[in-house]
Point group: D2
Chain length 348, copies 4
């Protein structure tokens, strides 16, 4: 089987492994105090043009989301998120397990708007007894979203503005950040994110690392005592170096963004092939995730060779599927998929 | 500097890295459903003679402790632990953050006794209103303990008996399990632990892996829905393979226990050297951690070349230090330490 | 001003206060172990025909909801509720603060159906990785609902059936139970509730007591160690007698249900008067809460004399208001309201 | 039986009940926004000479402790308390259930010292990795303590100083405050408490009310959004008036302190009687709780007529008991106890 169901089917990019091997016997202090983490943090500060930002390395998305969100909220406060957001659909109530409600906003394509956020806050504060509902304090977004879509820089500026007007923090889940930054048409940079967000992260797990997310915290209020949170949530590795080394390998020479661009290009080829045979992409995604409503019969035929993610049944004979590329996707596998798709749809 | 301050100063044992490299481009399902995790779990079941046990792979000690303990307790129940236990002194209140009190028992050497546990339970249930205090439901031990000491099989049998009599689960933190199993004089086996515990873990992070703890759950009640806990606590890696592969490398051909034996032997050499010059080990540790009350002047001299962990000041001019070996400790570094120690103490 | 905005504008029914006065200097044990609580519990068991049920007395609705729900769920489980349910809209995230998600079901009139519950469970269990979302384990309903509506006995039987099929507990919030039981057309009895629910409560605060909710727990699994939960959540009064005495006063001679019937009758008079002048009730409520979409101009005129609860603006010149009667509502005040309403609407 | 086992064996002082009866049918807004709560709050501000202080009314001690402490701490912070403190021994882990560790300090008589607090903080901050343990942020004391003892004003000034030096909040549990303020030799006033504490409370439940604790919050940082905490923890009564009315009755004309003085006087008579027959009080308590180590044979004889609280067995034939008076203790019951005690001890 050739896996197109997700972007974490392989290990790490070879250069990441090489660096782990090269540095393996160098002794270093534990818990993220090593030279590799420090160098990686310096590099990220520099790439973000944010010398005041703190950088911490955590293991995975759910862990990062619950740790950062817990650090941003008081017990009676809640986080605003798209109803399709990862924290709302894919994390087993991890946020609620830290005591906080997720206030979800309906989203058709994974994105929400400044206006929706503003309205939600207005509703809270207009109540005679606002204290009878959790207080909105934080907006959680993903870049790219769960559906591969991207916010424009203007959309993020608008969201930042309503955040400021409503005393909200802004936290961006960048589990797939590299695919977004490298996408055709994207106008958002690391520097923009560091200027607009109170915290965001650069996802490694889904883009070339064995595991690891680099959390960037430009806001000094959130920086304070953040290591207590990391440790308490079980997110501090004794061998923190394992994460620092990988991010060094990924971010030196822009490998991370090259890998993102590669995956996007392969995804784009797949998208064009599907559109050519009549299946319009369900979302306007310039990144590595592509979604199509396909006949179950076609899915069954393709799944003799390939795996996809089944998102949801749309009818008795049609299903929304996700096709996902990654840094590791081989062009020849995409060739073969396109060829098979063309053949199978021509036969009909 | 030569680091003797902990057992996680290097990366992973070379065979662990090799296996990561060899398998790197094989595609596999995510979240622990891969063939490597399955093989590693099968191997562990087999080594434990516990075919009914579930095996899960988590990242680190604090994460494992908080996840397992949360799975074992109802909200009003508490965990009994030595006051020196890792969950009580080194985890930033991670257990309390899941809502549970740690009921600590004074311990001189890291161990507690069946009798102490029994007494604590008796006190709880004899109260007119037992519901005014958290209900004891779980005993947490470490093997080896924080001070390198070990429970004998008989001691564990006694503890299991009082656990049964008091309806308590037994959970053993095996962050350094391999050092314990391989220790001279130890009579506790993996099979014993699987028979005696409701859950325990085989620690990888501190014994040859980049990261990783293999949780073994013989008790079917704790098995139920355990993956929900792992996911909710942010402890489920997308690339679960990273953990499975490492445990395969460590447990095939008993590498894990050979590495433990190596570290113990080096620690034993250090211990003998210190005792020879008049410093009796503070605890009766047959494992890789050795503790000595040393004059600050000697510590200062040694720390020109070596790092140790400072446990606590004992007086104005004496400090309790920990000297720690690992799978990676080189015999020549121990030679040099012994030589320096001998020279420095002779000079006086 | 004459208050019709809620059902807790006065103190307690005079017979409740009398009993508090009469028993005031009798000495009794604390924490609910007194003879008054025992007698009230016995009486409730008897009224419910549920000799095996446990009865506990708590202070208010939010406290009761969070305590019972915390006792019913494991950390990774969630509670299903109408999106209009009190726990979802009026309790400051109290349920999430105990670590649990509320899985809300859209409701037009405060009620949800067996089919909706069944569908939600099916969606959870059909997922390839059900453990990526909180596990449904409990259904929370209100009787009457937030909009004064009632479930029929058949509807509750259907819900119980899907609960059994999906291994869900059923918990009914009876903050206004007496209004529901006493309502015209209602076919649900205390005995039915005790047979159908794993837990429910008989609300005192909103029906004649100073404060107090009597929790009835027919399911023995939930009974176990429930007092630990009450105490831990700060819900156990030192003078538990204060609650037992009040419920004795309310339930002896069916005072509770007579008060409910009185309030319903006054609410029904108000409803008929509004309908007579052209304002159809927004919900089919046979209980003490009536909802009307009224022109803001009329609201303003009426609010010179009366208070109502503003539920939400419907347009620039129309608002949904709640008019609420209680055990304490005086017929002459309702006469006056009807008179004023008639006059004001005739003037137009 | 005549109850001396606690100070909550009766209902409320008659003047409290009278005021509840008198005001019963006055309509008022819910949730503490009524005129009675406002008047009571104003009166308390005035008595404390703290016009900036916020006053809130909650139901009981555990509820108040968990609500205030949750409002004072971030998730990784802990509360320092005497090991004998109510939160540590009598609240079913309510504090841990909000996620926080209690860092207990050994106490012989219920009190702790400024020096002990200072030392604990020094230990935390001297660690190489302070973030591996919960961060001390709050000191919890009781006035009077669980053993009836009192802090002097100088002791509280010293504690406040180390709190300031270590960035700690100070919170005083005043469940029995009136007994303390009214005690012979006490030099601490309400005004002192309001000047020294970030929050404290005036306990009603154990001193003349049916239920109720008046929380005084001089520190504006803790005031912010405190009603969200009250509501989320289930501590906000719909009929908040029930608490406001009672505190009005208790604090008008200093009734509260007169009742405290009465109870202290009766306790003092009991103490002198016991000391006369050779039983020295176990603690130097000038308040309503007296503790004696008594022979079990004497306890058995006295318990034919009186109830005491058994604190703990001291040996096979001796037990530490608490004898407790209250606002409701009748002088003739104390006469009778003294008479019986004298007779029984003379017989020997």
């Amino acid at each position: 089987m050739i896996r197109f169901n997700c972007d974490y089917s392989e290990g790490a990019h070879p250069r990441v492994l090489e660096k782990l091997v090269q540095t393996n016997l160098e002794q270093a202090p534990g818990y993220g105090a090593d030279v590799f983490c420090r160098q990686a943090a310096d590099l990220i500060q520099s790439l973000c043009h944010a010398p005041q930002a703190e950088v911490h390395f955590l293991c995975g998305g759910t862990q990062t989301n619950l740790t950062v969100i817990a650090a941003m909220l008081r017990p009676y406060q809640c986080v605003i998120a798209p109803d399709t957001g990862h924290i709302n659909v894919h994390e087993t109530g991890a946020i609620e397990a830290t005591g906080h409600r997720i206030l979800s906003i309906p989203s058709a394509d994974g994105k929400i708007t400044a206006q929706q956020i503003d309205l939600l806050c207005a509703q809270h504060w207009q109540d005679d007894n606002p204290e009878f509902a959790p207080q909105p304090r934080l907006v959680y977004l993903s870049f790219p979203t769960e559906f591969g879509t991207l916010y424009s820089k203007q959309e993020l500026l608008d969201i930042r503005r309503v955040c400021d007007e409503n005393k909200l923090y802004l936290f961006i889940d960048g589990a797939r950040l590299g695919y977004g930054i490298a996408a055709a048409g994207n106008d958002v940079t690391l520097t923009d994110l560091a200027a607009l967000c109170d915290a965001f992260y650069i996802g490694g797990t889904k883009l070339g690392a064995l595991l690891g997310e680099a959390v960037v915290i430009p806001n000094e209020k959130i920086q304070k005592d953040f290591r207590y949170f990391i440790k308490q949530k079980g997110a501090m590795l004794a061998k923190g170096r394992v994460l620092g080394i990988q991010f060094l390998a990924l971010l030196e020479d822009s490998l991370y963004f090259q890998l993102g661009a590669h995956a996007n290009e392969q995804a784009s080829r797949i998208r064009r092939a599907f559109e050519k045979v009549g299946f319009v992409a369900a979302y306007d995604s310039p990144t590595n995730q592509q979604f199509f409503a396909l006949p179950n019969s076609l899915i069954k035929q393709l799944e003799e060779t390939y795996t996809f993610a089944h998102i949801k049944p749309l009818s008795h004979n049609q299903t929304l599927v996700r096709i996902c590329t990654s840094w590791a996707t081989r062009a020849q596998d995409v060739d073969q998929l396109i060829e098979d798709l063309t053949r199978l749809t021509e036969e009909k």
